[in-house]
């Protein structure tokens, strides 16, 4: 299974792109693990995940259609 991730703000500097594909992430915990392996700088970054436009704070199951967003603290306005 491939999971498509959209990336925002300063995290685009770490990822080097505003999108990303991760393989075999069945839930958000394993996704985060995978991401931090690939991008160690994420360990020191503040960010939250949204799955299908809802913020998630607990481990959440993903399916092939899930839209994942990687978001640093908001700074609009």
């Amino acid at each position: 299974m491939k999971t498509n991730i959209i990336v925002f703000g300063q995290l685009t500097d770490i990822i080097g792109n505003d999108k990303l594909v991760v393989n075999n992430a069945g839930d958000t915990n394993s996704l985060l693990e995978e991401l931090k392996k690939g991008y160690p700088a994420l360990e020191d970054s503040k960010f939250i995940l949204a799955v299908d436009k809802k913020l998630v704070t607990e481990n959440t199951l993903l399916n092939t259609n899930s839209t994942i967003a990687l978001m640093p603290p908001f700074s609009g306005g």
Binding site: I6, F8, G9, Q10, D13, A50, K53, A69, M71, P72, P73, F74, S75, G76, G77
Partner: protein, 157 residues
């Protein structure tokens, strides 16, 4: 801009209104928005908040502009929720919100929140609460671009 819809399908069957505008919010746009309300003669008070880009000096470098990006789909849904919450809490006649995307130069307006009600208190309180919620809840990011074209990501207070 009012009629341009968001990219998402609506919550509760209604399409969220778009709030994003490309570049700065012009003073003339604000004036037009105020002028349009002269036909709503049940309004007694308007409250307006304008966010303006500051030319902050950070480590000796001056901010020339802020470039805004957003997770638009999510932001429009969130703004729709905020709007519904505010309308159910305050006796408002109308609310308009515009937020810039892309570059906004120092001195220009990047946020325009406009609430109107029969009496001043509802308009004033609703405007303040809407601004606070926008700052806290909308997935929008500002990139402070210095005069020398380097940048840093803005941190919200």
């Amino acid at each position: 801009m009012e009629t341009k819809s968001g990219q998402t399908t609506g919550m509760k069957g209604r399409k969220p209104k778009n709030v994003f505008v490309q570049g700065a919010v012009a003073a003339s746009f604000i004036a037009d928005s105020i002028q349009k309300h002269s036909s709503k003669t049940d309004i007694g008070g308007h409250s307006i908040f304008l966010g303006q880009v500051r030319a902050d000096v950070i480590n000796g470098k001056e901010v020339a502009s802020i470039e805004y990006t957003a997770y638009e789909e999510m932001a429009l849904e969130k703004m729709h929720t905020i709007r519904e919450d505010i309308f159910s809490k305050y006796d408002l006649i109308c609310m308009h919100v515009y937020h810039s995307l892309g570059k906004v130069a120092a001195g220009e307006i990047s946020l325009f929140v406009f609430t109107s009600s029969a009496h001043r208190k509802a308009a004033i309180d609703a405007c303040e609460e809407t601004v606070e919620r926008i700052k806290a809840e909308l997935p929008v990011w500002g990139k402070e671009i210095f005069v020398d074209e380097t940048y840093q990501w803005k941190e919200s207070k």
